[in-house]
């Protein structure tokens, strides 16, 4: 019996945009399609990090909002005007002002989904993308993975499905996953992992492995026991069969709302009483009719693999030997790309482990993921990155083979080649290679290029941008503009300069990650001064056990902003100079407490 895992990436068009532009998490994002007569229809929408309500630590609609389809009453297919009206009712009219509206781009969505599918080949060799529905509003959002026989490598189906969800989560992708006997059943289970808790418990999931996927706290995954999917999923709504609107309406008219209700109807009369699609979907769900998995074949990227005659003990192998093999495979992968003028953007090397050992030692392949900031066709550079990663990972004891797969490619920069050997690297290319090396060891997020952001709050006045974002070519780097009230559509550079660089001399070169509360000594003339908020800076302050005597102070610079991010920030900043010559950046909150925020180091 086959076992299929469906990975649902809810609201993929929005998620893709959030991955490309993380700053969009703070604002509502609508992906719209322009219909005839100029009407904009909402395809997907989400607000990943909405503001917190005053006095509570729970966001209005938290991170899980990506998977709730009917949040705040906005449905796919609604017109943009209606959606905005609903949004302003639930979140206030200011939410509409900061909303980001983007045009639908199904091709880019599918391309990036294929990229995720290639990434998921680490879990099983056959990864397909669901067929787009003919009557639906959006494109495909699910991956279907044939996990028959591969779950043992991950310690069972429960750990496998959990690993998939968390691995994608570490890459910033919100996913839900379920395993069942047929693709249709897995699809239905993945879409309703929330409500499956009670259903699966009554279906008699006895083994620990299956109960594992049922904990209510972690309802992002589900494992439907083999052979029991019809009973376990009987209570799911009929729409979980991927029915179109007409078939769903017909069922609702006769009062049938669940999959179990459809299954109880006499099978012979189904085709004549309802749309033919219903019978097809039901038989696919039960497993009487096979549903082929369609593996994406557009733009197949090069792969290369080498299987050793017998398992290779890494203890007896020097790293140079292994690197020589990897270099050969890399050459096979890069050569076809160079002919097309392309370079590698990300690459996966799998060191396949031996399966001949005891079953409990069977483990998934050791995987090396390589990502670069600019497409690279230099095998030498990529080998260096792989070596860096190998030096810091725990290598398996023995390996059976090496598989190399190019996950994504990009247009490579054309350079004049010399007569002998490769072209001399330009200094810009060398800086990109340096960034690749640094991020390979320090982590992808630990290397960045800072850019000014138009935001009054000092912590948010800059953003970390990956070095590839401008391709090292752009001449001018405009400041990122956070949306402000009154529409954020205009994009004039003058606004950025005046707003973000109002007083650079007042900004310290070291900013503490969090402001540190200070104990201060103030001199006040009268009791009225104590109450008055503008009574000046303190005379002394203590940081740790050090006492600092203030001799000069400049300010205040009042910053009052960020009501849309939560409680309003209201601070009076002072640049103070101590008797020993040190300069500090301190502020007073509205209630009179003093904080140290930065040092002019």
């Amino acid at each position: 019996m086959s076992r299929i895992m469906t990975v649902w990436l809810p609201r993929w068009p929005v998620q893709r945009r959030l991955l490309e532009r993380p700053e969009l998490r703070r604002q509502p994002v609508f992906v719209c399609r322009r219909e005839r007569r100029g009407v904009m229809t909402v395809v997907a929408w989400a607000w990943a990090a909405p503001p917190r309500r005053e006095g509570s630590s729970v966001p209005l609609s938290g991170g899980a909002s990506l998977s709730r389809t009917s949040l705040s009453g906005i449905q796919p297919g609604m017109s943009l005007a209606e959606a905005m009206a609903v949004l302003s009712l639930t979140h206030g009219s200011r939410a509409c002002h900061i909303a980001e509206v983007d045009q639908d781009d199904p091709v880019a969505d599918l391309t990036s989904l294929e990229k995720v599918a290639r990434y998921c080949r680490r879990f099983a060799p056959l990864v397909a993308i669901e067929k787009p529905s003919q009557h639906g509003h959006g494109g495909p959002e699910c991956l279907q993975i044939d996990v028959t026989g591969t779950a043992g490598f991950f310690g069972g189906e429960g750990p496998l499905v959990r690993t998939v969800v968390w691995t994608l989560a570490t890459r910033g992708i919100h996913a839900r996953a379920a395993i069942a006997d047929t693709p249709a059943a897995a699809w239905a289970a993945a879409r309703h992992t929330d409500s499956l808790h009670a259903a699966l418990a009554t279906a008699g999931a006895q083994s620990r492995q299956h109960r594992d996927g049922l904990r209510k706290r972690h309802c992002r995954w589900a494992v439907v026991p083999p052979g029991a999917h019809l009973q376990a999923l009987a209570e799911l709504p009929a729409t979980a069969l991927r029915l179109d609107t007409i078939a769903a309406t017909q069922l609702r008219d006769v009062g049938i709302e669940t999959i179990g209700g459809i299954a109880r109807l006499p099978r012979k009369s189904l085709a004549s009483r309802f749309e033919p699609q219903l019978l097809q979907r039901l038989t696919e769900f039960i497993g009487e009719r096979p549903e082929p998995l369609v593996v994406p074949c557009s733009g197949e990227l090069p792969t290369a693999s080498l299987a050793f005659d017998f398992p290779l003990l890494l203890r007896d192998t020097t790293q140079d030997d292994l690197v020589a093999v990897i270099e050969r495979l890399l050459h096979d992968c890069v050569t076809p790309l160079v002919a097309k003028g392309e370079g590698v953007m990300s690459l996966q090397v799998r060191l396949e482990r031996s399966q001949s050992a005891a079953p409990r030692e069977a483990c998934p392949p050791a995987i090396i993921d390589i990502g670069v900031f600019q497409p690279s066709s230099s095998a030498k550079h990529l080998t260096e990155l792989i070596k860096l990663r190998m030096a810091r990972m725990r290598m398996p004891r023995e390996i059976e083979g090496i598989t190399m797969e190019v996950v994504s490619v990009g247009k490579a920069e054309c350079r004049q080649r010399t007569l002998f050997g490769e072209a001399a690297e330009t200094s810009a290319a060398q800086v990109v290679m340096l960034m690749d090396r640094l991020s390979g060891r320090l982590g992808r997020g630990a290397v960045f290029e800072p850019r000014p952001v138009v935001d009054a709050q000092p912590e948010h006045a800059w953003a970390a941008v990956p070095p590839a974002a401008h391709g090292m070519k752009s001449r001018s780097k405009p400041a990122i503009k956070r949306p402000q009230r009154g529409g954020g559509r205009e994009n004039s550079p003058e606004v950025h300069r005046t707003a973000s660089m109002a007083a650079p001399q007042r900004r310290p070169i070291w900013l503490l990650p969090r402001p540190v509360r200070l104990e201060t000594v103030s001199v006040v003339g009268s009791a009225a001064d104590q109450v008055n908020a503008s009574s000046g800076p303190p005379v002394q302050f203590y940081s740790g056990d050090q006492r600092h005597e203030i001799v000069k102070a400049h300010g205040p610079e009042r910053i009052e902003t960020a009501w849309w991010r939560g409680p309003t920030v209201r601070r009076d900043y002072y640049v103070v100079e101590t008797s020993t010559g040190g300069r500090y950046w301190i502020f007073r909150q509205r209630r009179g407490e003093w904080f140290l925020h930065g040092t002019f180091s």
């Binding site: 340096l434 320090l442 650079p504 310290p508 000069k552 010559g581």
Partner: protein, 307 residues
Amino acid sequence: MVTQVREQVREQVLGQVLSQVREYMGSAGGLLRQDSGWRQAEGGGRETVATGFSTLDRLLPAGGVRRGSLIEWLAGGDAASADAGGAITLACAVACRLATSRAQAVASQATTIVVVDRGQRFYPPAVLPWLESQSDVAAKGGRMPQLMVARPSRDDDEIWAIDQALRCPGVAAVLAWPGRVHSTAMRRWQLATRTSGAVGLLVRGFPGRLQAGEQTWADAKVAVSPVAGGDSAADPAVRRLRLSLAGGPWSGDEMLKERSAELLLDLTNGRESTRRHRLPGWPGTLSAAGRLQGGRFPLEEATCRAS
């Protein structure tokens, strides 16, 4: 016939010259070694770039910073305020000048500054305006200066990151504030700068002071300490710093007359301040008794951008 005679004469002359050289300096290999020794002693014939701070240039024996060298900035002053003394600010300003100087941008194309930020405290908005205000070379065909930040989370990662950045020929300057550095690591950094031409600016001295016997391979050590008070520092946009040459091979020159100097750093553009007069910057001054002389602090610049 004539050609043969000429070749004979030429070989004769060459033989004489070589024998004279051997008499004078030993073998030809010795000559080469001697040459490299001279070059190393003189800074390897490396190009000297003006830092843009005339006070600092006068202090440094080379009249500026040589490409491919390491400079240590020792955060001096009182122990309580060693981390607020302005050493990083000055080093950052020098890095910006190195990346944006015309010779650097047009000739060597090395215009990238790498900040290795251990501790995750570096605040780029203080520096980005300096780069923008100084990037006049970009309009004339050079590359835009570029600021990159690497945030290692461990000590060995930090040392490795500095080494990698110093090795890259596209990097103009590397700014870092490492803790204790082993002598071997620093020697490796020095050799890396020699091959790439990058300048390493290492700010040392906090949070713990430098160890007494710690060996350094820096070409120059400049102690930076803030000057407290005084009328000349009345402008909040100007930082008054005292620099003194504290060690390193560059300071071994006995002919060096000036060993310490004061520098006014303009924080608005990262250049040396030319303001001579007192500006109405500090509204209030506290006397020794701790009483406010200037009275109430007016809310002079309210940046209320809420709406």
